[in-house]
Each structure stands twice: as C-alpha cells, then as structure tokens.
Symmetry: C2
Subunit: 568 residues, 2 copies
Amino acid sequence: MTEAVQTEAVHTERVDFRVSPDRYKHWRLSTDGPVATLTMDVDEQGGLVPGYELKMNSYDLGVDIELYDAVQRLRFEHPEVRTVVITSGKPKIFCAGANIRMLAASPHGWKVNFCKFTNETRNGIEDATAHSGQTYLAAVNGTASGGGYELALACEHIMLVDDRSSAVSLPELPLLGVLPGTGGLTRVSDKRHVRRDLADYFSTKSEGVGGKKAVQWRLVDEAVPRPRWDETVAERGAELASRSRRPENATGVELTPLAKAADDVIRYDHVEARLDRDAGRVDISVKGPRNDPPASMAEAARHGAGFWPLAVTRELDDLILDLRTNETELGTWVFRTEGDPALVLAYDELLLGGKDDWFANEVLHYLKRTLRRLDVTSRSLIAAIEPGSCFAGSLLELALAADRSFQLAGVFEDKDPTADSNTGEPATITLGEANLGPLTMSNGLTRLQTRFWGDEAGYEAAAKSKAEALEAEDAAELGLVTFAPDDIDWDEEIRIATEERSSFSPDALTGLEANYRFAGPETMETKIFGRLTAWQNWIFNRPNASGPDGALRRFGTGQRAVFDRKRV
Amino acid sequence: MTEAVQTEAVHTERVDFRVSPDRYKHWRLSTDGPVATLTMDVDEQGGLVPGYELKMNSYDLGVDIELYDAVQRLRFEHPEVRTVVITSGKPKIFCAGANIRMLAASPHGWKVNFCKFTNETRNGIEDATAHSGQTYLAAVNGTASGGGYELALACEHIMLVDDRSSAVSLPELPLLGVLPGTGGLTRVSDKRHVRRDLADYFSTKSEGVGGKKAVQWRLVDEAVPRPRWDETVAERGAELASRSRRPENATGVELTPLAKAADDVIRYDHVEARLDRDAGRVDISVKGPRNDPPASMAEAARHGAGFWPLAVTRELDDLILDLRTNETELGTWVFRTEGDPALVLAYDELLLGGKDDWFANEVLHYLKRTLRRLDVTSRSLIAAIEPGSCFAGSLLELALAADRSFQLAGVFEDKDPTADSNTGEPATITLGEANLGPLTMSNGLTRLQTRFWGDEAGYEAAAKSKAEALEAEDAAELGLVTFAPDDIDWDEEIRIATEERSSFSPDALTGLEANYRFAGPETMETKIFGRLTAWQNWIFNRPNASGPDGALRRFGTGQRAVFDRKRV
C-alpha cells in the first residue's frame, strides 16, 4: 500500500492540554500596549502524532491547544490588552484549515472530538470579545481556507488583503466531501448574514472569493491593498481597543503551571478523578474551599492562580479535556463534592459582588465556559449528593448539568463516625445567586431555567428556595434533584444507574443527551453543537467521505472520490 | 444464515402515495358529527415490502401513507369535523411504533426518508390542530411504544387508559440503540415540558411509565380507568370540538383521484417532471392557471379538486414524495414555470382575500406544508426563470425555496418566434402578498425573511418591489435571484451548475443545504428536522446500531448487541 496516510493514525500517547507560551511551537504571542498579536506560524514537523506534515499553516489538535492557551492567558495575564490581532507568519497563506492528511488518518471519534475542542476555542474568542473587552481582529494576510476562514469568522472584524490572489474559502464540500466542521456554515448565515444562495455558491467554489466581492457578499468586512496593510491593521486595532472597558493599570494574574498526578487516579489540588475501566466510569470529586474567601477581589487577585474559584475551574477544565480526549471508553462521569456549602456561597458572593472587577468577571466567565464544556461533553453525567458535600451555588451547577442526580435522604447509618466526610448531618443542596443568572448555558438560559423550560411555576418555586439548605425530599419535591433514595437503597440505585448506562449504545446516549440537555431557544452556539455538528458527524461517518474511495481519503492522491449517488 | 430479516429489504416496486379510504388496509376513518375517529388496526400481512409482519399495530411506510391521506381528507372533505380521535382497534396495544424488522432490513436512506415522511405527517397533525380547527386527541387505549407514543405526542391532548399495564414508552435507546426518530425527544422536552432528568430516565426505561406517574411527569394529560374510558373520550372529544372555529354547514371538497402518467416523464395536469438519469437531474415544470380565478371562494369550492391552487399543490406534493422515495439518485431538481404571472397573482388574491373562508384557509396551509416539504427535501434545488414563466406570488416561492436561482437577462435570441413559450418579453419575477406572510417556513419566517435574515434594509427594499414585474438585473440587484446570465451564457451556466452539483458528495450537499436553508430562529419543527434528525442519521449509520452485531440488527434474535464502547 503506497498511501501510508490512509492508515489510521495511532494516538498512543496521552494528550496533555497544559502548555505555556515559552513552549509554543506554532504561535507567537506578542503585546504592544493595548494590542496583542497572535501570529500563526505552524511548525510543519511539529504535528501531535507522526504521519503528516502541517503544511501551509494547517493545524491539528496540538496547534489548537496552543491557541486555546493563548486565548485564556490573554484574558487573565493581560488586563491591558484590548484588541487581539490574529494573523499569519507565513507569506501568502493565512491558514489552510485543519490538516487533511491528519483528518483522513484519524478515527471517527478523534475527528469529532477535535472539532468540538476547536469549536469551543472559537466560541471562547467570541466570548472574550463580548464579555471581556478583548476584541479579536482577523488580519487575513493571505488565503484563508476552510478552518482557516472559520477561525477568521470567530473574530469580530475580518480584514482581507486585496492582492488578486488572497481569498477566503470553504472548500470542504467540493474538495473533501464533508462540511466545514467548526461553525463555518452557521456563522456565514447567522453571524455575517450572507444571503443563503450566495453562501451556497461560495461553499461549493473551492477557490473561494476575494477582493471587493468578498466584502459585497459580507464574507469579510474590508479588503485592504497590501501597501496600506500594516497601517490599516494598526488603525483598526487601535479603534477596536478604544471601545473596550478593560481596566487601567491592573496587574494580570499568572496562570501558573497546573500540578497534576495521573494514573488510575487523576489528582489535582481540588479535583480528583478515579478511573474505573471495568465499569466504564469515572468518579470525580470536587473539593470546596478550605478557608474563608479573601476580603476583596483585589486581595483575591494577589492570591493569583491559587484563588479557589479560579483554581478549581482550571482543574475541572483540564480534567474534562483530558478525559474527553484520552479516556473515550469511560462513558459515565459521577460527580461528588466535598466541603462546606457556606464557604462556596461566600466565594460566589465575593465574585458576584465584584462583577465590575475585571478579575471577578474573568473567573465567572471562565467557570461559565467550563460548565458549557461539560454540557456538550458526550458522557453521561450523574451527580451523587452525599453527606459532607457542598453542592451549593456555583458547585450546584455540576448537579444541574447532570443528566440525573441522586441525593441521599437521611445519613449513611453505618459510616465510620470519625471519618472526615461524615458530619452526621444529611446532605443538602443550596441554590444561590450563581444559579440564577451568570452561568448561562449555550442556549442563553441558566441551567435552572432550562430545567424548568415551559414550567414557570416550577421555576418560581425552585428559585424561591434560594439560600435554603434543602434536604433530599424537599429538593426532589422542588424538582431540583431526580431521586432521593435512603441509605438502604443508595448504593444499589447508583450502581444500577451507572451499570445500565454502560450497557446502552454509546452513540444513542450521545444523541439523547445532546437533545435533552438543551430545551428551549437556540443560539449560534447550540446550532453549532447541535444541528451542524450532528450533520458533520453523520457525513464523517459515511463511506462517501471516510470509506476507502471516499473524498476525504482520496484527497491528494490524484484519484477522484467514488460516490454512492443516492440522496439520503 | 438463519436470520432472513437481516438481509436488506429490496424496494423494487415504485411506492405510490395515492390512496383513498376505501382502499385503506390499516386504518378506519369514521365520523360522528363534529368528532371523527381514526382507528389504527394494522393488517399484519399488509406490509409494503415482503419480509416482515406488522405485529402489534407496528407500522411501515404503507401504514403512514394511509394516515397522511386521512389527515388530508379530514381537512378538505370534512369541514364539519372539529375533533379527530386517534385510537387503536387492537386490544391492549395502541401502537408499537415503527416495525423493527422493517427498520433492521431497510437500507439507511430508506430509514431516513421514512422518518422524514412520518415527521411531516405528525407536523401536519399539529398544523390541523393549530390552523384548521381540527384538534387531535390521542385516545391511548393500550401501550404506546416508541413511534406509537410519538404519534400521541403529535396530538393536542393525550389520554392514557389507567389499567396497571398500559404505559407510554420510548424504548428505542435501551432496546434498539437508536433515538426515537420522529420528534419524540423534541416534543417531550419542548412541547410537553417534561423535566430533562425525568425525560432522560423515561427514555432509558424500556417498559415506560403509566398511570398517575405518567400524568405527574407530564408524559400524558390524563390517566383514565377503563370503566370510564369511552365516556371520557367522548366528553373530551366534545369539549375540544366546542373550541373550534370550523364552519357550520359547509360542504367538503372531495380529493378526487390524482391523474398521473409516469415513465421518464411524470406528468400531471399542471406539473411535469422529466427525469434525466444520466445527469442525475429532474426538470420540473409547473403550469400557471389557464383562466381567470372564480369570482368567489364559494365558487372555487364548487370547482372542487380542480381549483387550480389546490390541484397544483396536490400534484407538487405527490411529485415531491414520489421523487424523494423512488428516485434517490436524481440529486438536482430544476424548477421552471410556464404561464401568466397576472393570473397567478389573481388566484393568490382570491385566496388571501378569503382568509376567513375555510376552504381558502385549507388551500393556503396545504401549499405552506408542501413548500415546507420542499425545504426539507435532500435534493439540490435550482430555479431557472425564463421568458414565458410565471414566478409570481405563490409560485415565486419555488424560486425562493431554491438553493440557487438563475433569471435570464433579455430574451432567447434564437428561439422559435412562434413557440408558445416565447412571448418575446423578457422573464420577470413578481413579489406578491403571498410572499409576505402566509407561506411560512418551519422556522416561522417567510422565505423572504429568511433570505434577508439580519439584513433589514435588504428585506425592506425587496418587499417594496411588491407587484412590480422585475427583469433579471433588477431582481439580482434586489437579491431576489442569484444570477442573471444573458442568452449567450444561459445554457452553459445552468449546465455547469447542475453538472457540478452532481459531482459533489451527496451527503455533504444534504448537510450544507440543511444548514443554509434555515437561518435565524429555531422552532420544534426545525429542531426535529435539524438537530434530532441529524443525530438520528448519524446513529442509524453507526455499526453500534446497524452493523451485523448492532442493536437494531440483533433485536429479537436473543443475542445482545456488541458495542464499540468509545464515546464519540
């Protein structure tokens, strides 16, 4: 077999999402006062897995991990940055999109997970623009194809160099027989409002559209001749920066290296995950704060990355990414918490009281994004609410994000009375202000609103319980937990729920969860993770794309794809 | 091989969607004043294709074709009917859903197309309830599983017999490894507002939920003991009927048999489709009215099924279904019209002026539903607007539904000057009142609103052209058509567009079109055809469901499915 790329790339090494600018292979991050520049200059030989070269600024997961890190650090470490310019360090090419040989050689699940992470980072770019006063500017200084154009689409303003050769394009359909998989179709129609027939034409024309036509069709915001390029980029950067409400003279919070030990237990400072490979399950435990919160957000910023809400969010974020990518056969995640609910609520209060504080704002939005990552994670989520737990306020979101929750009615009768976790008090849950507004899902509603979608009375009754520590029966009565078994049934019920879950078709569970988790309104984000992603998954899975004669596998071989012409 | 069901069912005969109550095998339609009863009593041996028995009121496409026919006839032939009770003629079972052996034996495309049609009929049931004063009542007099419960979910009110054994259930996930494919998940969460964790539990419990718990969880509206069943059904039927605005003493319009000749041309009175199998394309021509409209809707009703708007809609409806089911390799449909635009607009005016008339109302909603069928059809749609055409008002919707439209600038220089279609005048399009409101897409917007989604100025400019006959350049300038080639380029441009289309991956085109056709807001209907359907297509396509060891294929064999446990 001459085409080595057509064999499946083997992902044997555990992917690590922890990286820092000094170790970037593919990006350069520089700042100049309020304007930062993120320069994409992909190392062709720096692929995450052997077997492909990252030519023409094409990317794989490794490139995207660095981008995600940069976007995060800009928000926390650079309060002074108000505009982020994304541009290319290569001549004539901005970015060629996801590497095709990598895609062709990757198993289905890898492709889907890769697209999901890429989508999340792009949503994060829009989130920074909307909520952080860091506006992203795409300085498209060469051709942007496929995922390259989709990266630009995530930016607030798109400048395209007008040089008769540079264009933006979505060549996935004509060249690869798949869709642009990271939000392209949705953003073209729902964000940039390109007319549907022009969008259709554009997406079937592999060479794309450049110059004035790209502006007329709304594909980009301006086309700038090369001689005026640098000054115009600088001008736009300054203009966008001038609109920002980022703070003056604030000191950034360094995202210090995340300590982590991994084996059959993945252990961070506040989060621990026990992997049970036989049962196909992960037991995740999140520890609440050990001490009172700092007196002010200014003091909190001095705690830096050790500030509990930031620390626990970073750990959860890393864990979700780690498990999603590296532990695909562990299909059920069981969440527990441990600690004092009052302390969680006190931290929430500090954060919510400090909404005008840039650091509080960043922490809250980061927690919001991390919980959204959980919502779109294709794993069954179960919350086990036991005595000694602290499912209150922000941590209660973990239970509200779960597909099912169990709260122990009463106490464990036979638990070691000297054990730390045995306070002798029954488990409670407590709604707080954090559950009533700031931590929206991608459908724009809170998890509580989504839970009671169409049931106004149910919502009101639940919301009225704010600040009350609810024992199991009351929580179940209010519809805040699913089941409230007692000591006698507890172990059995949890065991049955998780065993049953792992006996079901993992694909059908993914589809079920993707539908039930998002009742009510749709947004661009839910469309991207719902409609668009589901179609792409289907297309990725079809022989017309991924079969031996499919377009994705045949690309670059000189042979045309062979299609089953039946329309489905 | 002992399991003959596991081979693919061969659909060699052309499926005919034309049926009438005297030929129903599976349903009985009876009326008693304002209350009609549709009794499902499926003939086990009456499957559309050999190889399976339709046990326990399970259904295949043939059963659904009859249901669709009944729902249509009730609206047109029975103005007196205000409540439609759907119930079962079998003891203990309401409906077991789609026949599993049929599903297991059907190729992927057949399953998907079958689900689409079933969904459309269920949406039609909701449409009758919302817009026709015919409210559907599900009298669930035995267990309703899967598609059986989904049929009930399409009804406005669900009564479940409370007899300790009857339940409603969605056992697709636990038993078959697929999703409920005809709107179940969406209606459970977004219509009936079942809480997401209860919905999750319900959808993993194959035996379902009955009695009071089904009411508490909002899965049904009432649970009625068997002794009080008949009287309660009659009571509810009368109550629902009393809310209706259906007319008093109107005479129905009989849907007489649709004349049709089929070969390489499918020919009706007003619609003709030429099948070009080599090019993978169908050229569809729709004829406008030949005469002035009747003076009033009362007179129109006397014309009966021959009334042009009804006749042409029935023909289009049948053609769409025929081509979708029987001609899956013809991936591009090119629409042309022929006739006098003024007459089309005159018919529109009669219909829209008669909005309070029940018959005008039925015709308009039927046209709306038929155009929606086109929107969700997985074929590339192209409009070719030539001299002699009548793309005006309601017929202009065909061009607005198209993925791309071409309008000839000027005239065909070398056309036979004596030909009927050569008026010597350039082609025009004309917006009418029909384009500005009544014919909404399933996203709740008109095609014009969807086209200019996010471009208010563009919408206003286009809408202002109402009643103006626009030649190609003006229409293109206003964004109402995509391209305006002249005589010299015309044939070549259309040829390239269709040839190019048929060279692309049919799957990727389906995904692209499903995304670009629906900008803007989402409704239950778009969620069902978008998010839900796409996930189901993916799941249907995965080995975990449809592979030799998959759940769908192993069901009933006594062997458990073997799953690839990796979560995607």
